[in-house]
């Protein structure tokens, strides 16, 4: 009977909220950083300070440069993602749904995938000039592969027993694709989308630092020419925040589109 007594964590007394516990270390690091910078322990030429970064953020936000650059970068990322993503989706569907499509596409795509596509930057500039085209195409190329691979894998991973079910209940080929194969492949496709978003952003960092006259990457290059460390670090922080937001958007899509899974995962 004595086993029945269970000890619960003491409630109320000296219980630090979780948010505070989790924020403690990052805030401490920022404070230490600021103190070291203020007392000149850290060379300002190499590293800025948190306050300077906020000041830079404020300055570029007020004069509009930050939002203009951010907007241009976002549009490029989105255009590239839409182009590469939809092509990846189409190719993934074609290769996943038919042997003919697989034989025609898969080996070629796998071969191209092994190219380090960031190494193509000079070629793309040579081919497509200095305008928006090479940047957007580079993002498209980078986002194509994760979507293609995951859609293909998702479709091929559909359980044989569910396909058998569809066949024995008289589903047409189209109904089989719509009701069984595509929903079953969706979780994988969304994983591909998540990877793609990360890659789109990464590609832009590179693509915008070459011969650019606008965008976040250009902001970094300009700041580095003027030795404005605080601006460089501020843009890096903006990159990180956008990355987090993009991930949150896909997660939101996932919980909406995969709500049938939610009760199963149990919070």
């Amino acid at each position: 009977m004595s086993l029945a007594t269970t000890s619960y964590p003491a409630s109320g007394r000296r219980q630090v909220p979780r948010v505070v516990r989790r924020l403690f270390v990052p805030v401490l690091l920022l404070v230490v950083w600021q103190v070291l910078a203020s007392y000149g322990v850290i060379n300002r030429r190499f590293s800025s300070s948190p306050v300077d970064i906020v000041v830079a953020l404020w300055r570029l936000a007020v004069n509009g440069q930050l939002f203009e650059s951010l907007w241009i970068s976002l549009v490029r990322a989105l255009l590239g993602l839409v182009l590469g993503g939809s092509l990846g989706l189409l190719a993934g569907l074609a290769a996943g749904l038919s042997r003919l499509g697989e034989d025609a596409l898969d080996s070629t795509i796998q071969a191209i995938r092994t190219l380090p596509f960031l190494g193509l930057v000079p070629l793309f500039i040579l081919w497509f000039g200095l305008g928006e085209t090479p940047r957007i195409l580079l993002v498209a190329l980078g986002t194509f592969f994760p979507i293609y691979l995951n859609v293909f894998k998702g479709i091929r991973g559909v359980e044989e027993r569910l396909v058998e079910l569809g066949q024995s209940y008289g589903l047409t080929r189209w109904e089989l694709i719509r009701d069984i194969i595509l929903p079953a492949a969706l979780p994988n496709a969304l994983i591909g989308l998540r990877y793609s978003l990360g890659i789109a952003w990464l590609v832009l960092v590179i693509a915008e630092q070459i011969n650019a006259t606008s965008g976040l990457g250009w902001l970094i290059i300009k700041a580095s020419e003027l030795a404005q460390t605080s601006v460089i670090m501020m843009v890096l922080a903006v990159y990180a925040i956008i990355g987090i937001l993009a991930d949150a958007v896909v997660r939101l899509i996932e919980t909406r589109a995969l709500r049938w899974q939610r009760s199963f995962q149990g919070g």
Partner: protein
């Protein structure tokens, strides 16, 4: 040929080989209209392959095969599509007005006492509930032939008993021709009009079950039939099996698992 089809299913001299492994040979089988036929056999005897042929899921058999076009099947696993609501699963593959389909689905779910779960996601169902949805899905299209492939094998003993009664009642009520595959001898005797014993890819014996329904496991004829079937399956009927109890070793081990932590205290 039309005469053959009217009685549902007819196989003549059918065999099935995978590579050089012969899984079925010389199968002659006919299912009469309204009959409840049970195929019993140990695992690996070919009974599932036989069902697949009759379900049209295996087209590689040699011999003369006539199968009923208007059939539906219940698999061992419920095979519900997790991304469709329960009622949508029930009317999978049926075409027509959505509201009309929903009405049909609800009626079918009502028959298996699952009306309250119509708008649930399948992953929230218990094993027994999921299998009842699968049965509703099979019944909603008013099949001429109902195929069940070890449908209760994955369920716990209590649920299995309830489901057996429910299926017996539904089949009787709808006057369905039914083919039921199982390795559970009691289940076979409870449900069947006729039992085929499959052994090493052949129909080894046929038993006509003339017992009145509902059937009683304690009935002397029931016990005699079970003994004969088990003998046919190569299981000794001495001791625990004939009493209708679960085999003793299983009991003991389960008991041990519960008892062990208590003893440790």
């Amino acid at each position: 040929m039309s005469e053959v089809l009217s009685s549902g299913v007819a196989l003549r001299n059918v065999s099935r080989t995978f590579g050089d492994r012969r899984v079925l040979s010389d199968i002659d089988l006919e299912i009469e209209e309204g009959e409840f036929l049970v195929i019993v056999g140990a695992s690996g005897c070919g009974k599932s392959t036989l069902l697949k042929i009759i379900a049209g899921l295996d087209r590689g058999a040699e011999g003369e095969v006539h199968i009923e076009e208007n059939r539906s099947i219940v698999f061992q696993d419920a095979r519900l599509l997790p991304w469709k609501l329960v009622w949508e699963n029930v009317v999978l593959g049926l075409r027509g007005d959505r509201r009309e389909l929903r009405k049909r689905a609800l009626a079918a779910l009502d028959e298996v006492n699952l009306l309250p779960r119509a708008d649930a996601w399948p992953l929230t169902l218990s094993g027994g509930e999921a299998q009842r949805v699968a049965i509703a899905r099979a019944l909603v299209r008013t099949p001429k032939l109902l195929l069940l492939d070890e449908p209760f094998a994955a369920l716990d003993a209590l649920t299995r008993l309830k489901m057996q009664q429910q299926v017996a009642a539904l089949v009787e009520q709808h006057r369905l021709t039914t083919l039921f595959v199982t390795h559970d001898v009691d289940e076979a005797i409870l449900l069947a009009d006729r039992i085929l014993l499959v052994e090493a890819g052949r129909i080894a014996r046929t038993f006509d079950v003339a017992l009145p329904r509902p059937r009683n496991r304690a009935d002397a004829r029931f016990i005699r039939l079970r003994r004969a079937l088990l003998e046919g399956l190569g299981v000794s009927e001495d001791g625990d099996i004939a009493t209708g109890e679960a085999p003793v070793p299983d009991h003991v081990s389960r008991y041990d698992r519960i008892a062990a932590p208590l003893a440790a205290e």
